[in-house]
Symmetry: C2
Subunit: 225 residues, 2 copies
């Protein structure tokens, strides 16, 4: 573990990670925001996040902050952009790496918040007044989520282990903001090989739905027609 042997003569910004933690509740995409208890922007809402420590990567920083603030390990966590406007933080030069994180609805996150601050799920279509440039970050985060939803099995990270095809369809509809055809959706989601039948059925007040879970090793089965 090499120690610094040379001190740079350059201005060093503070470096943070900010996390867009999304979930889907009531067929609606929501994001976790924290009500700031201190200046600047006291009383406004902000993304969870915090400062990069000396011995961690940005990925590790984001995972740590998420765990500290929400008490959960996200099923999915990835960087999507960096924000570096010199005046984005009135306290001084700060750049931030923005992360996309996803959790299933109902993981009891809000109780375990470490700070006394108020954390809430906000529908992304009706955001409150936000601090810093966090509105821009959220806009970029939503776009990143939409863009990746068809490439990678992100929707699974927004669902509990056993879910029906109707549930996963509703996740897609909530994120993309438009209704999808049931039969076409089922055919295409199964063709991706991301999910497998559990053999279990959903208990409900109507015909039981087959439950699915994520394909364990990413090893898709083919030729099921």
């Amino acid at each position: 573990m090499p120690k610094p042997t040379f001190c740079y003569d350059y201005p060093r910004p503070a470096v943070t990670t900010d996390i867009c933690l999304f979930t889907v509740v009531d067929d609606e995409l929501r994001i976790l925001l924290i009500n700031r208890g201190a200046e600047p922007f006291k009383g406004l809402w902000a993304l969870p996040g915090g400062f990069l420590q000396e011995t961690e990567t940005l990925d590790e920083c984001a995972a740590r902050e998420l765990l500290e603030v929400t008490g959960v390990k996200s099923a999915h966590l990835e960087a999507f952009a960096t924000f570096s406007d010199p005046h984005r933080d009135p306290r001084g030069r700060t750049i931030t790496a923005a992360y996309l994180a996803l959790v299933p609805a109902g993981d009891h996150i809000l109780q375990s918040g470490s700070d006394a601050e108020d954390a809430r799920w906000h529908p992304v279509r009706r955001l409150p007044k936000l601090s810093f440039d966090h509105r821009d970050i959220i806009t970029a985060g939503r776009q990143a989520l939409i863009a990746k939803l068809d490439q990678e099995p992100l929707a699974i990270a927004l669902l509990p282990p056993g879910f029906s095809l109707t549930q996963i369809q509703k996740v897609y509809e909530a994120v993309e903001g438009q209704p999808l055809d049931k039969r076409n959706f089922r055919r295409s989601i199964l063709a991706k090989g991301w999910i497998v039948e559990t053999g279990e059925f959903e208990r409900g007040r109507q015909r039981p739905a087959m439950l699915y879970t994520h394909q364990p090793s990413g090893q898709a089965r083919e030729g099921q027609g």
Copy 2:
């Protein structure tokens, strides 16, 4: 322009940008590397780049460094990843934002290098010994380039203003590393609406090729069949 009113109690890493500047020469994808004149990694090759200044964004920093080192304004410059391993720079904690930049072949870049250092175009398939984690950055940069080539008109940034369809096809073949069918390529590239005929023809030793240039306002014409 607010001044810092509060000093953070957090370790501040140095922040840099590193630039993967690509071009296509002799039907081959090449990247600009600089031979390091100083320790650490003296004599090895590195990406052009440098430190973030107080009053600039990361995008501005990358554009400035590129201009300083190569003397050109890139037709295309965009961030694609951040590298933050605590030990990636033996001199001390440094994180870097990696940028993808593209210039046409033959822009006389190397002459105008500001430093006395040696700058050269290296074929990406035969890279020399590299310093820091620059090999990883280049690998990620190539993947970013390939992924975006079909979404955005990046190939145009690798070509001079007047180019033939054969030239642009060779750019695609060089980046993707595989031959493409001439008729299918022409149909699909024209369908994207990124390029328009100039009315000029290429002077050569055979049948003259129609020259194209980028569609000025990104306004695609449709229904040309």
